[in-house]
C-alpha cells in the first residue's frame, strides 16, 4: 500500500489553469475523499494521479518516487469509474482478468485471483454473465472486483455511486467502507456528495475552483471549518448564514436585535459587517442561549424533527431543525435559541474568525 504525495501540482487546459498548485499528502491505508461542487477540479486531480491526464506542473510521488511521466499502468493504481466502464462484450470473469492478461499474469494465477475477488464481492455465480445482464449494483461490484484483482498500490474512485438509485447508494457506500477495512488499502474517492464524504473518509479534501479549501477529518470539517465555503458545503441541511454588524456590545442582526459573538469582540472591528453561521440542528425552540425571532414560513414535521423554514424580519431565511416536539404552524412567530459557542463567525472574505 502506498503513500501518495502531491507537491505544487498544477493543470492547464489550453491556456486555462484549472488546478492551482496543490500540496497534499495521502497516507498509507488512508481513505481520502475529494469533495467539492462540479467544476472544482476534483476529477481532474484524480485523473492526474491515475495517469489519465498529464501533469502541467509540480510533482506527484507514489512512495517517494516521481510518477509524472509514468504511463497509467506502471503506477499500479486501479480506478473505479462512475459509469463502471465495464467491457460490454466480455463476461464478468474476463472483465476482471483483462488487466492481468494484458500484463502477462499466468492464466491459472489470474483465475485464482478472480475467484477470490469474486468471493469477496459475492459475484461467484455471475462470473459467466455479461455486464448487460447485471443490475447496477452488481455492475459496480464487478468494477470494484476488476480493481481488486490487480492488487493495486491504491484504489481510485471517480463518483462511483452517482449512477445508482438512493437505496443502493447507501448499501454500496457501506460495502466500500467494509472493503476499505478488509484491505486496509489507500483509497482516493471523488464525490460531490458531502454525505458520502462524511461517512467514508478518514480525510476530506474540500476543493473549489482548483484550490484546496480545507483538509481534515470529517469531524473537524464539520465542527471547525476554516471558511464560509467549507462551512456551507459540509453538513446537511446547510448552515444558516446571517449578515451581522459588529458593535460594542455584540452582533447586530438584520432585524435589529443583538446576539453575543462567538469570538471576543475585541477581535472584531466595530461597524464592520461579518457573517454569522449557525447550523440548523443547533437551533431549538427550547433551551437557553442566544435568541432569534422568526416568522414561520413553512414547517415540515418529519417525526423525529420539525424542519422549520423561518423568516427573520429583514428578509434573512433561517432553517431550524427542531427536536423539541412542539407543534409549529405556518405564520406563527417563534423564538429559537442556540449556544453562542456553537456559532461561527466569518469575515467579509469568508475566512473564519476563531476565538
Amino acid at each position: 500500500m502506498a503513500r501518495i504525495e502531491l507537491e505544487s501540482v498544477t493543470k492547464t487546459f489550453g491556456g486555462t489553469q484549472v488546478i492551482h498548485g496543490l500540496d497534499l499528502a495521502i497516507e498509507e491505508g488512508e481513505f481520502c475523499v475529494f469533495v467539492g461542487p462540479s467544476g472544482c477540479g476534483k476529477s481532474t486531480l484524480l485523473r492526474m494521479i491515475a495517469g489519465l491526464e498529464d501533469i502541467s506542473g509540480g510533482e506527484i510521488r507514489i512512495d517517494g518516487d516521481r510518477v509524472n511521466e509514468d504511463p497509467a499502468v506502471e503506477r499500479q493504481l486501479a480506478m473505479v469509474f462512475q459509469s463502471y466502464a465495464l467491457y460490454p462484450h466480455m463476461s464478468v470473469e474476463q472483465n476482471m482478468s483483462f488487466a492481468l492478461r494484458r500484463t502477462g499474469t499466468p492464466k491459472a494465477e489470474a483465475r485464482e485471483k478472480v475467484r477470490r475477488a469474486a468471493e469477496t464481492l459475492q459475484l461467484t455465480e455471475y462470473l459467466d454473465r455479461k455486464p448487460g445482464q447485471l443490475s447496477g449494483g452488481q455492475r459496480q461490484r464487478v468494477a470494484i472486483g476488476r480493481a481488486i484483482v490487480r492488487e493495486p498500490r491504491a484504489f481510485l474512485f471517480d463518483e462511483p455511486l452517482s449512477n445508482l438509485d438512493a437505496e443502493l447508494r447507501v448499501q454500496m457506500r457501506f460495502e466500500i467502507a467494509k472493503l476499505h477495512q478488509q484491505l486496509s488499502a489507500t483509497m482516493i474517492y471523488v464525490t460531490h456528495d458531502q454525505v458520502e464524504a462524511m461517512t467514508l473518509a478518514d480525510k476530506i479534501v474540500v476543493l473549489r475552483k482548483g484550490r484546496i479549501e480545507q483538509v481534515g477529518p470529517p469531524a473537524r470539517l464539520y465542527g471547525d471549518p476554516d471558511n464560509l465555503f467549507v462551512a456551507g458545503f459540509i453538513g446537511s441541511p446547510q448552515m444558516n448564514f446571517v449578515a451581522v454588524t459588529a458593535e460594542a456590545d455584540g452582533l447586530r442582526l438584520p432585524d435589529g436585535s443583538l446576539v453575543a459573538s462567538p469570538v471576543p469582540l475585541d477581535r472584531l472591528a466595530s461597524g464592520r459587517r461579518y457573517t454569522l453561521g449557525i447550523r440548523p440542528e443547533h437551533l431549538s425552540t427550547e433551551g437557553a442561549g442566544e435568541r432569534l425571532s422568526l416568522e414561520v414560513d413553512v414547517s415540515e414535521n418529519l417525526g423525529a424533527a420539525n424542519i422549520i423554514y423561518g423568516l427573520m424580519s429583514g428578509g434573512t431565511r433561517v432553517l431550524v431543525e427542531d427536536r423539541s416536539g412542539r407543534p409549529i404552524s405556518s405564520g406563527e412567530r417563534i423564538e429559537v435559541r442556540y449556544e453562542r459557542t456553537r456559532s461561527f463567525l466569518f469575515d467579509a472574505e469568508g475566512a473564519r474568525i476563531r476565538g
Binding site: 497509467a72 499502468v73 480506478m79 469509474f81 467491457y87
Partner: protein, 278 residues
C-alpha cells in the same frame, strides 16, 4: 368513433396502393428469375409468362458455352471480399483514432480533411489514376480495384460517428488503467463492441463493390478477369437476342448480393441511417 372509419378507409387505400407500387418495383427482378427458366419462345409471347418454367438447365448450358458462368462471380468475390475487409479495418482504425484522441494536435484539421474526401468526385481522379496504374503495371489486375479503395472517407467518417456514439470515453480510460495500449485497445475492446457497425459498413461496401462498373471497365481488359457487371454487359451485347440466357447469367450475378442482403438486411438498413445522422 365516427372519425375512425374514414381514417381507416384512407389507410387501407394507402396500403393497397403501396402494395401495387411494390409489385411494380420488384416485377423486373421477378421476371428476371422467371425468364431464366423459360424458352426463347415463351419470352417473346404475349401475355408474358408469370410463373417459372423448366428450361433453366438448357439456358444455363447455352451461357456456359460462351463463358464459365461462375467466373465473373468469383472475380467479383476476389475483388469485393478483400476490399471490404480491408476498408472496414482501415476505416475502423482511423475512426477510432479520430473518436478517441480528440485532443491531439491537428485532430480538427485532419478530420476535416477526411470529411472533405467525401466530396472528392471519383470522376476527377479516373484518368490520372488509370495512367498511374499503367505505370505501376497494375492494369488488367485486381489490385487497382482493391488497394486504393481501402481509403474511404465515407468509411472513416461513418466509423468515427459510430464509435463516438457507441464507445464511452471511460472505456478507453479503463483499458488504459488495465495496461492496454492504443492498438491493443482497438483490437480487444473497440472492435468487438462495434461489430454491428462493422457489419453495416461491410454490407454497404460489398454491395457498392458488386455494382462497380466504370473503374473495372477502365482497368480490366481481359474478359477472363471481368467482374459481374462487366461480364454481363459484354454478354448482353453479344448475345442480346437470347433473353433467357442473359437472364440466367444476370440471376447468377445477383444471387450473392441477395443472399448477403437476406442475411444482413437489418445491419444494412441500420448502416444506411448511420450515414445520414451526422
Amino acid at each position: 368513433m365516427r372519425r375512425s372509419n374514414p381514417e381507416k378507409r384512407f389507410k387501407l387505400i394507402v396500403t393497397i396502393a403501396l402494395l401495387c407500387l411494390s409489385v411494380i418495383f420488384i416485377m423486373p427482378l421477378y421476371w428476371t428469375a422467371v425468364f431464366s427458366t423459360r424458352t426463347l419462345g415463351d419470352v417473346f409471347n404475349f401475355p408474358p409468362p408469370l410463373w417459372f418454367g423448366t428450361n433453366f438447365d438448357e439456358n444455363y448450358a447455352r451461357v456456359a458455352e460462351v463463358f464459365p458462368p461462375w467466373r465473373p462471380v468469383m472475380n467479383s468475390l476476389i475483388v469485393a471480399v478483400p476490399k471490404t475487409v480491408g476498408l472496414v479495418l482501415v476505416s475502423a482504425l482511423a475512426g477510432y483514432g479520430f473518436a478517441r484522441y480528440t485532443r491531439a494536435p491537428g485532430h480538427r484539421f485532419l478530420l476535416l480533411m477526411a470529411f472533405a474526401t467525401l466530396f472528392f468526385p471519383p470522376t476527377l481522379a479516373l484518368i490520372p489514376f488509370f495512367l498511374q496504374m499503367s505505370w505501376m503495371g497494375w492494369l488488367n489486375t485486381f489490385w487497382p480495384l482493391i488497394i486504393p479503395a481501402l481509403a474511404s472517407g465515407f468509411g472513416v467518417i461513418w466509423m468515427y460517428t459510430y464509435i463516438g456514439s457507441t464507445v464511452p470515453r471511460e472505456l478507453y480510460e479503463a483499458a488504459e488503467m488495465d495496461g492496454s495500449r492504443g492498438l491493443a485497445t482497438f483490437f480487444f475492446v473497440v472492435l468487438p463492441i462495434i461489430r454491428p457497425g462493422l457489419a453495416a459498413l461491410g454490407v454497404w461496401t460489398l454491395i457498392q463493390t458488386w455494382s462497380e462498373f466504370q473503374l473495372p471497365l477502365v482497368i480490366l481488359g481481359d474478359g477472363s478477369k471481368f467482374t459481374v457487371p462487366l461480364a454481363l454487359t459484354s454478354l448482353s451485347r453479344n448475345y442480346f437476342s437470347d433473353t433467357p440466357a442473359v437472364m440466367v447469367a444476370t440471376l447468377l450475378g445477383l444471387i450473392p448480393v441477395f443472399i448477403l442482403f437476406a442475411l444482413l438486411s437489418r445491419q444494412f438498413v441500420a448502416g444506411l441511417t448511420a450515414g445520414a445522422v451526422k
